[in-house]
Symmetry: C3
Subunit: 394 residues, 3 copies
Amino acid sequence: MTTDERSEPGHDSLSDATQSKKVSTKWRGYLDATLGFRNHWNPVGYGHEIAEGAFVAVTALDEPILLTRVDGEVRAIQDRCAHRGARFSAQPLCFRKGTVSCWYHGWTYDLADGRLSDVLTSPGSPVIGRVRVPTYPVVEAQGLVFVYVGDGDPPALAHDVPPGFLDEDTHCLGIRRTVRSNWRIGVENGFDTTHIFMHRNSALIKGNNIALPLGFVPTDRGAVQVHGEGWPKGVVDNLSENYVPVFEASLQGVPVWTSELRGDEKRVAGQISVWLPGVLKVDPFPDPSLIQYEFYVPISATEHEYFQVLQRKVTSEQDIETFEKEFDETWRDLGLHSFNDDDVWAREELEEFYRDGDGWSNERLFPPDMCIVEWRRLASAHGRGTQPPFSARR
Amino acid sequence: MTTDERSEPGHDSLSDATQSKKVSTKWRGYLDATLGFRNHWNPVGYGHEIAEGAFVAVTALDEPILLTRVDGEVRAIQDRCAHRGARFSAQPLCFRKGTVSCWYHGWTYDLADGRLSDVLTSPGSPVIGRVRVPTYPVVEAQGLVFVYVGDGDPPALAHDVPPGFLDEDTHCLGIRRTVRSNWRIGVENGFDTTHIFMHRNSALIKGNNIALPLGFVPTDRGAVQVHGEGWPKGVVDNLSENYVPVFEASLQGVPVWTSELRGDEKRVAGQISVWLPGVLKVDPFPDPSLIQYEFYVPISATEHEYFQVLQRKVTSEQDIETFEKEFDETWRDLGLHSFNDDDVWAREELEEFYRDGDGWSNERLFPPDMCIVEWRRLASAHGRGTQPPFSARR
Amino acid sequence: MTTDERSEPGHDSLSDATQSKKVSTKWRGYLDATLGFRNHWNPVGYGHEIAEGAFVAVTALDEPILLTRVDGEVRAIQDRCAHRGARFSAQPLCFRKGTVSCWYHGWTYDLADGRLSDVLTSPGSPVIGRVRVPTYPVVEAQGLVFVYVGDGDPPALAHDVPPGFLDEDTHCLGIRRTVRSNWRIGVENGFDTTHIFMHRNSALIKGNNIALPLGFVPTDRGAVQVHGEGWPKGVVDNLSENYVPVFEASLQGVPVWTSELRGDEKRVAGQISVWLPGVLKVDPFPDPSLIQYEFYVPISATEHEYFQVLQRKVTSEQDIETFEKEFDETWRDLGLHSFNDDDVWAREELEEFYRDGDGWSNERLFPPDMCIVEWRRLASAHGRGTQPPFSARR
């Protein structure tokens, strides 16, 4: 598709970025993770969505999962009866607390361990106690419900969320929605330094009086820090330190766009980081008083669930109430929607190229994409396992 | 997907039912018959749908078929012009009784033998008499139009319908509709003893004061009789004789559901049977005065035409009129719709698991499914031929 | 699907036409050209659709193309940013005349040569000048915008349009629309002599008092002339000279249709021809004063853009105005729509058979199809290159 001339020698990361066809083997594990990384925690919903005794069906990493709440605790079981594969959620039945019964033949499972405890249509059946449907470890934190899709014992949740996310004396509020792109397009859109060009007319800029450049010129490779030891593992990009922000755009030396800056703008997005299994942290954003987290949870090869969470330090119930009021009045619409709706649109636009056009081989990266390159390498090296298609796992 | 522990030794059929992965080779022919069994009779419509001279297009076993009526007799011809593959039915033309002309170039075929008899656009063309489009043997019986999709001479219709269906002094009334599941999901749903659990709240139960248990506990393997000699061939399950009906459901010994029985309920469904190529008979149902037949005719790999037919003994025109009135006022809505709509829903729910999830390998049967196991074996052993995809047959 | 008996010996073309399975290797190149022939000119729109500075996205031969007009001249560039594959057209940006900028990261290309001239988000980036997006040669003629999808220098436009199309002292008016069939079904429908059967009730016949037979009986092989030397290359069928027109249709000798002819009908369609890469000329049509051209431009394997153009000799501005008025009042609706809508319908009907049913192997041609046979051979021998799928070309 493109004419590619020799890139400059010397700058290692820059050359990588401009020769993506050759370096793609360096992030093979990431390319294989079409359905995400197995053996990690991922959010699947907000706690308030799952009332006591209610059933909620979600799909994460291609696995159908049924959520419910029993005595205050969220339980997660694979949403497939072992008998004939019916989804419990098609008509969820609970005849006794802590169980789910299949609507088709009354096979009844204990939600604690997934074991078949009774068959309503055939008491005393020899299959009772001999069949099990997989269940998933669940943790609730910061208003979110996290599920562990993987094998063996799960790690601590703190290993799979950005530093600071679980901090005490903070409060989180957010939304979620389904985006029609692979989850990796989501992560890369969020972490991408120069995509802010597309936000140049966002209502958020004037609405919250923030300074948002059109782009960045990297000045130093040290801008991108790889945290590959311990957990969580991630890549940190200190935008405010190692880049020259671009507030005026020129073509052939002639200015064609100028940001109107008065000098009193709020500073945001000083540091952007991304963490395994695929979580963004923008600190601060969309206001100096807030941190924005984004989880891009794989649903299928072509869809991800987009969790947008705002975090603020709070020291009292009053602080929480104030935050909730602000969230409802300002941040949800001006930030999570108005601003990020553009990102959702961009991801859905890119999906076709990366899916049908073999974009991973045909893209042509450039130096500001070095943060993305580092993320792909980190994920390839440290993702705990490639999630196989659900149908292949039985 | 499931943890499968050792099943009990001894009980042969029970072990089969609980170890489906191992026994699937025993019904290989059935698994191959995604598009149904070739060389059998199947209904494709009701006689009253095909008026003299009218054209009706249907698809059976993946084959496009054009039906019409000539001098009272139904004719069936493949719905494809031999010339460029146009479907006659896109704009059916008849310039002379007993023929169909293609709308594109006027190729005209004799419906009796499918031979190209004239070309309206090119009189005397050398192709006349040298090209033939396949035709299908047709028989009308009990208000239904049966077509033979197969090779060679067809057997008697009586070989491919349940015993009693063609009995004199009976009258049949029914409906048909398209269900979005493979035909085998349809057969197995109908023949399945314990799926009645899902009907426990059906309006039919109180509406017609019938006794319908939640399920059954098999007491004896003799309950299922295989009729593998002569024709028709089928599997008969005598529910009223060899099962303990379940009218009360318990979880861990605690009752959670009780059927309200007063003792004066009508008895139905004493015997359920299924016959090649895939026809259900429920005797009696949904009333002691009626027998219900169900034909699950393959359309494509993912759809079947569902024929629901009620039969009653009649000895006079008056009996027929009474039956027709009852059918219109009661049985169509309360039985064929209200009750069986649940079955349609169940089949469409199961389709994804059996299609994409390799359900035939991943299902986990249990003892009451032994009737299904016997049906699969019978069909594998005696189905007269696997129907190939239409495109592969030319 | 059909019974095929031996065709007559001797008549070579006739045997071909009745033994398509055997001769298909004679038009292998044509069968391979699912996405059309590369290295030819094809129309992609009308000049009036592309205003100065406006952006219009089209797809031709599976390639996404962005059109715009700069200082009066139409420019065409591949509609994919080299960076991450975003379509410029999703949100076209022009910050400086003669360039297009990508909405995602501000990569900016010179439309003259496709070279990356600036990156708005990262001034001075080393990728500037080192990346190029393909551009396409463009010519405007007779109100149409032609684009060359191919390699190397394009031939003269006159090589890829029917003789007479570029004649001075003529004026062209037309419409375009997307048809859901492969482009070859389009060409063959237009060039097909006996398909006029389907137009027998067209409003155009009485509306313009023209004589249109039901079909034709070929009398002489000389009717079809192959122009395989020089360019353009095409096949010419002199309908008025070497066929016996059929105005009365019979079945088994009994008349079933008679065209009402009064003797004063206008004569049209005396000569029909088709030219590489796939352009029809009907001379005259739909009126003795007009010639109709049809371009069937491949979009994807299953869609083509259908350009219908009427040409008339003109000697003054007044003639053009008269033509425009007639076109608006009569020819657009009565000819290009009412009459040709039937052809669009026929092509979409045939698509399934040729796509899924392997129609190219299963069709059964007959003598009047010899014009189609000659076209397939010519195209196979002289098409300048098979267009590969877009995704495979990068």
